[in-house]
Amino acid sequence: MIESFGYVLAFLVAGTGFMALVLTLARFIRPNRPNDEKLSTYESGEAPVGNANVRFNPRFYLYALLFVLFEIELILLFPWAVVFGDKQLAAASENWKHFALFEMLIFIGILGLGLAYAWVKGYLEWEKPNIQAEDFKSPVPPKAYEKFN
């Protein structure tokens, strides 16, 4: 049991080492020309100002949920693939391959049903804010603007 945790340790050490190596390398190779914009926190294009407790648009939660859903599916798929490809297990039982494949198909099928459900329900539509057209009538005709632009 302890030995198997050795792999984890090796993984940690190798990962940390690789990151350290690459970042140090980059430190020396890249050009260094910072400005205010570049030094600010990356926020997917939003301006990083104000309180941290701002209200996010609930639309994002939908995407977060879908992301988590498929993430978990993938996480299960990896160990499944390892077990599925195990020759010893396959040799031990005749129906192993079919059984394992079928199980995963059911699993993905249920997730697919969930996706289909969300799709039909319209949960995947990006809810566009309903912008009201202004009824302000400018004395300047719209064509006048075209001349300037």
Binding site: I110, L113, Y117, V120
Partner: protein, 465 residues
Amino acid sequence: MTPVIALSLFGIINLFLGFTFKRQSLQVVTLLFIICSMALTAMDWNHEYLWFGDMMKTNNLSINFSLIIQLAGLLVVAFSNGFGKDEVYTQPAEYYAILLFSLVGALLMVSFQNLIMLFVGLEILSVAMYVLTGSDKRNLRSNEAALKYFLMGSFATGFLLFGIALVYGSTRSLYISGILYNLSHTAPESLPSFLYAGIILMGIGLLFKISAAPFHFWTPDVYEGAPTIFTMFMSTVVKTAGFAAIYHILDVTFGGFQKNWIITVYFITIITLILGNISAAYQQSAKRMLAFSSISHAGYMLLTVCANQPSTSSNILYYSLAYTLATAVSFAVLMVVAEYQTGRTEKPENFDALNGLAKNNPSLAFAFTVALLSLAGIPLTAGFWGKFFVFTDMFNKNLTYPIIIAVLMSAVGIYYYFKGIISVYFNSGEIEKIETSFLFKIALWSACIGTLVLGIYPTLLKSIF
């Protein structure tokens, strides 16, 4: 095994049926689904087998519990009336699907052989309940209830998980059979002391779900805030499943360590009985009163868990069934009356809102009365025998002092249950004839007749349980 698979499938099917079916036909379909899965459950009668990697076990006890739970689900669906006529804000397909999924969770909780499955079942059940509690999105109290339930519930789950971890740490197994084997092959002195902490923590996690005091503070608020139909579900299905699990953990698995947990559970039982009953007596809202009454009934059922007699499981079954029938009926009547009174009176769930119900709705009034009598434990209703069997267990164990408290508390119970009867029959009020659907009537009458039949001839089911 089959009912779990069937109910999961039915839930998914229900989601898609929602696109085409009307709400009334969805109700019928869901009823058929539950009846179908009850039939599947019953087909396993007298077959004892392990399944799902030996993590689940089906036997007659689990089948009995499953049937009671599904019966409760059936009653809830029958009383639901398609969740009203509000097309925009209610989604019957989703509600029914979630109800079916939570039934799956409850079924896992009654037949687990592995502590992980207990946890999974509890979570399936609880998460579904959090959603349903908050389903009345425009109602602030419903939102508050959902959040409260969710926060407290996750805390309790944390306790449960911690307990499971400690038990696993000391017995090196998550399987009930493995735990029992290791416990019987280890000298009691060499067992680590955190095993006892683990037992207590697991107990606490489950006692929260059945709302035993002092873990009951969420109950009145959540019961009151949630839409009544889901309160009905919560107080019947969750409680029965929770008791099945408690029985399995405390009495079956750790029955040999009774001296280590009995003091704690005793204390909790007594507090539950006293707090539940005394607080119920002060309520103005009938729904809140029923919430406290559900706490007090948890106390009575815990008594028999404390006694841990050979007949304990059958007594829990009988009590759960009696309690389920009576609670479902009382919530159902309260629900239709509150619906009628919304807009007419300020507080449609208060006792005052029931005033004069008997005048134009004799059948609703009668059913409500029978249900309250059964909850109060008056003879010739099922509730009397539930209490009777529990007290018998206590006497067999020579636990005389808790019985005295329990008996005194049932006298207190009369006071608050009869408040409902007083409103319905003695007080005058203006309630016109309330129209109810055919399914509602059938469910109401069958639950009522069931209560009376079980009250007159308890041997009918006692011989099966």
